[in-house]
């Protein structure tokens, strides 16, 4: 005879609980946390470096770099830009999780920061399933990837707060219908904040950095 035990428990809930602890740690320091996701080659690192260049002088930023292999190319670039950076080697794992985020936060001088940017592993499927404790998930999509991506990979767009459409300087060369792309995105995620920009030319960056600075300030005031 078997006996049925009712459970109804969310899978990966332990990761989410740890993510909440991470978020509380950021909140205690009045820091805004941003989780940046994208497919490889969409321009995550360029986007972070261009953002760093355009932030107002007083805004103190730390970067957590996730990579599947022990290379420090991306972290080195951030350090060269004068910001504290921590490299997490996921040892082949396809995503960062709240445990890795916790140890990375311990390695950053939190008392001296206003903003922590996490560069997740380049992958569109897995990172979305693991909350880190950041305040917003941001996806960098790029024009060369094609305008059908929200239709073909609807999952990715579900749990985002910010969408960056990168490489808009390539619009004249690529058949990318922005209206069609945005229509699919809006169906999946109506409240999403969207910025179109180019890391190459700098076009569109002002609106993005203005928004980011306003979010950092709002977070400081809440603390």
């Amino acid at each position: 005879m078997t006996e049925r035990v009712e459970i109804v428990k969310k899978i990966l809930d332990s990761n989410e609980r740890l993510a909440l602890n991470n978020q509380a740690l950021l909140d205690n320091h009045g820091i805004l946390g941003l989780n940046i996701m994208a497919s490889p080659g969409a321009g995550k690192t360029s986007f972070i470096l261009q953002t760093i260049k355009r932030l107002p002088p007083g805004l103190r930023l730390g970067v957590i770099e996730g990579d599947t292999a022990p290379v420090t190319i991306d972290a080195d670039k951030v350090l060269a830009a004068g910001m504290p950076a921590v490299q997490i080697n996921t040892g082949g794992e396809c995503h960062l999780d709240a445990v890795m985020m916790e140890s990375a936060l311990q390695a950053l001088p939190l008392a001296e920061l206003d903003l922590v940017i996490v560069e997740n592993v380049g992958n569109l499927i897995c990172p979305a399933a693991f909350k880190l404790g950041t305040h917003a998930n941001l996806l960098v999509a790029s024009i060369p990837e094609g305008d059908d991506k929200p239709y073909k990979y609807p999952n990715i767009y579900r749990d985002l707060q910010v969408l960056i459409v990168n490489k808009i300087d390539l619009k004249p060369y690529i058949d990318f219908r922005m209206d069609y792309f945005i229509q699919g995105v809006r169906a999946l995620n109506p409240g999403l904040v969207i910025f179109e920009l180019s890391c190459k030319t700098g076009e569109g960056f002002e609106a993005w950095t203005n928004w980011l600075v306003s979010q950092v300030k709002a977070r400081k005031q809440e603390a």
Binding site: T2, E3, K9, S14, I125, F130, P154
Partner: protein, 119 residues
């Protein structure tokens, strides 16, 4: 893919609940995993066969309920299931849609066998 940590969490949840209820072993585990979760059943089963060895859940059968993602048309109020691709409302062709469900990922219940069962 991220099925390993997902499978580990399923095992943790099932073993904790089984121990709490004095189970000798777990015979069946029932889960609901929505279409948006990007989880492949076969991969979970593959990891399960390895990591459940030597636990209360060794040999337990995994049952996956895979409800489709359901979309609601904000124009004509039709509800329809998401196919592999996001398609417009089958009734009015609008893309003004809202997602109603499809994000589920939970252990619903388990069947346990108790030590003192002799029948």
């Amino acid at each position: 893919m991220h099925e390993l940590p997902v499978t580990e969490d399923i095992l943790r949840i099932a073993c904790e609940e089984a121990a709490k209820h004095g189970a000798a072993r777990v015979s069946d585990i029932y889960m609901t995993i929505g279409q948006f979760s990007s989880i492949v059943d076969d991969s979970v089963q593959f990891f399960w066969d390895h990591i459940s060895q030597g636990t209360l859940c060794e040999g337990a059968k995994l049952h996956f309920e895979r409800p489709p993602a359901v979309l609601h048309c904000n124009q004509c109020a039709r509800e329809f299931e998401l196919q592999d691709e996001l398609l417009p409302c089958p009734n009015c062709a609008s893309f003004d849609l809202s997602v109603i469900s499809g994000d589920e990922m939970q252990v619903d219940h388990i069947d346990i066998v108790k030590e003192d069962d002799h029948d």
